[in-house]
Subunit: 164 residues, 2 copies
Amino acid sequence: MTNDHPAPQSSRRRYLALAGWLALCFAAASLGALFMPGEWHANLKKPAWNPPGWLFGPVWSALYTMMAVAAWLVWKRGGFAAQRRPLAIFLVQLTLNAAWTPLFFGLHWTGVAFAEIVLLWLAIAATIAAFRPVSRAAAWLLVPYLAWVSFASVLNFTLWRLNP
Amino acid sequence: MTNDHPAPQSSRRRYLALAGWLALCFAAASLGALFMPGEWHANLKKPAWNPPGWLFGPVWSALYTMMAVAAWLVWKRGGFAAQRRPLAIFLVQLTLNAAWTPLFFGLHWTGVAFAEIVLLWLAIAATIAAFRPVSRAAAWLLVPYLAWVSFASVLNFTLWRLNP
């Protein structure tokens, strides 16, 4: 068997794994969908540069998809046995990502949510650093995510300070 | 229409929601399944009262199922609109639960994992307190979970101190 023609089962297993990573990332995403921005969010004082509400859905869908593909590219290099550390850092950032919506939109703890999104930013940066030696493509796939979370952190901070 | 015979659609929606809560809780559970305790865990110094490995799977499966039913019982009382706060606290505890395995079995950060499981313990206690006025059954369904996490915290602490 040559490298160009991998075994069908191995290829099937690989695409099942991609489906698994997508399912995991969109499970985190679903926490965002559970708390629809309602009256509380509508009544917050917002900065002039606050993006329109319709933008967040498509942006996050794209980011979660890229996140899943990035994790899968790293996982492909030997699975959890070989990539335990980078995948663990990835999963820690995913749990921090999932926790933000219940803190901000669920509990309205804008200050705690800001502290938490700073941790998330650090965890994404650590994930990029851990992915880079394994797959440069995987590391690059997370750069738009880090950029968006940088912006989201500034927005979270501003909403916290404007609405004490 | 009487109360004894709810509309079929409403009943279907209710059971779909139960499926959703189960999916969300078992997505958190899947992070536990990704990191199979391997050589590192086998070589840890363990206390005499460390439970056998086969016990953890069935115990956690039962606890995640009870967790999902508890959240569903609260959700049934008016959904996210009416139960925003207790469900948000529940989801925060679920993200803390999901984060523990990558920290402990993924990164081998036994000290950080201990700090994190203490936060989880507090979040479960807060969830029980928030569920109790809405559904006493939901609160009771989380008591075995709190008991197990109490035990798991002591075990985590002991493994951390025995293996510096």
